[in-house]
Symmetry: C2
Subunit: 164 residues, 2 copies
Amino acid sequence: MSSHPHDQLAPDQQEQLVSLMRGLGTRTVLYQQNVAASLGLYNNDLKSVDILRETGPITAGELSKITGLATGSVTALIDRLEKVGYVRRANDPNDRRRVILVPEYEYKEEVGNTYRPLHQSMHELASSYTDEDLDLITQFIGKASAILEEQIKQLNVKKSKSSS
Amino acid sequence: MSSHPHDQLAPDQQEQLVSLMRGLGTRTVLYQQNVAASLGLYNNDLKSVDILRETGPITAGELSKITGLATGSVTALIDRLEKVGYVRRANDPNDRRRVILVPEYEYKEEVGNTYRPLHQSMHELASSYTDEDLDLITQFIGKASAILEEQIKQLNVKKSKSSS
DNA sequence: ATCAAATATCTCGATCATCGAGATATTGAG
DNA sequence: CTCAATATCTCGATGATCGAGATATTTGAT
């Protein structure tokens, strides 16, 4: 399908990839929302769990910066997550103002169970490639991820600028 | 780097990719949220604009199903998007109950402008690959996207089941 | 030491997107 | 023609989020 024999040139190929990436993005957002609902969490709560999973323990303020939520919202968010055992408040011995958030979802199987079918399918997809190809793809994903991170930073910069 | 000579086996490589994909997902969600804020839209409003962009005109009810929002919420959402000119309500000549949502953001340059830096970077990234490699990557992204779509469906099925 | 400014988190009233149940309009089947 | 099904909208209730101020702690200057 997608009628592009060899008479078609590269720019179009790039366009196709970028378009697919965009579609992947839309689906990712919808998927995340569905996972949250499935776990009985609010979107931002699951988002925070995912962030903590990647960063490890961070302070409430750092979570506020990353998520873009007001500090008051983060306080309430932590209360909710703590109540259901996804996270724990810990003291920073060096600065008693700070609240360190320690992920505790290792004990919560639900998260793993919910993500499992996706991971399973991804593993299956991955196993259909040679080591070499997988390397190529992995590097691409890593670079795409870095680009996104950079773009998020840029948008935040613009946000602060426009409010000055 | 990443010390995995040839004595290391595939599963680890797969793990790395899946982990990276997850990180990509988290960043995608954060990015989307930042774009929405930057455009002065609510998350679900931008989500809907993106959906409409991909699907073309659909009914209010279909948007409700895709986004998972209640019909009453979609009504308000459309009101907001219509007010700022991202979308237009049209009649379905065959069924006068229906409201068809027609995307109108071609006239809105802001969306394109906001996404542009990301697209630019993605194009740059894409242009660093050979046609062959790009093909491989494109196919992978397409498959990953299809997997996500399937997983979203599965989660919706479980949702309906558990409420019976 | 002392004090003021800066920083981190929390509190709390206000706002507003979302829900969900019911209202309204339309279609389709019998 | 009537009734059930369907599509959208209305509207009161709920609750996440905001944002300004309160509290506690740290830091730096004097």
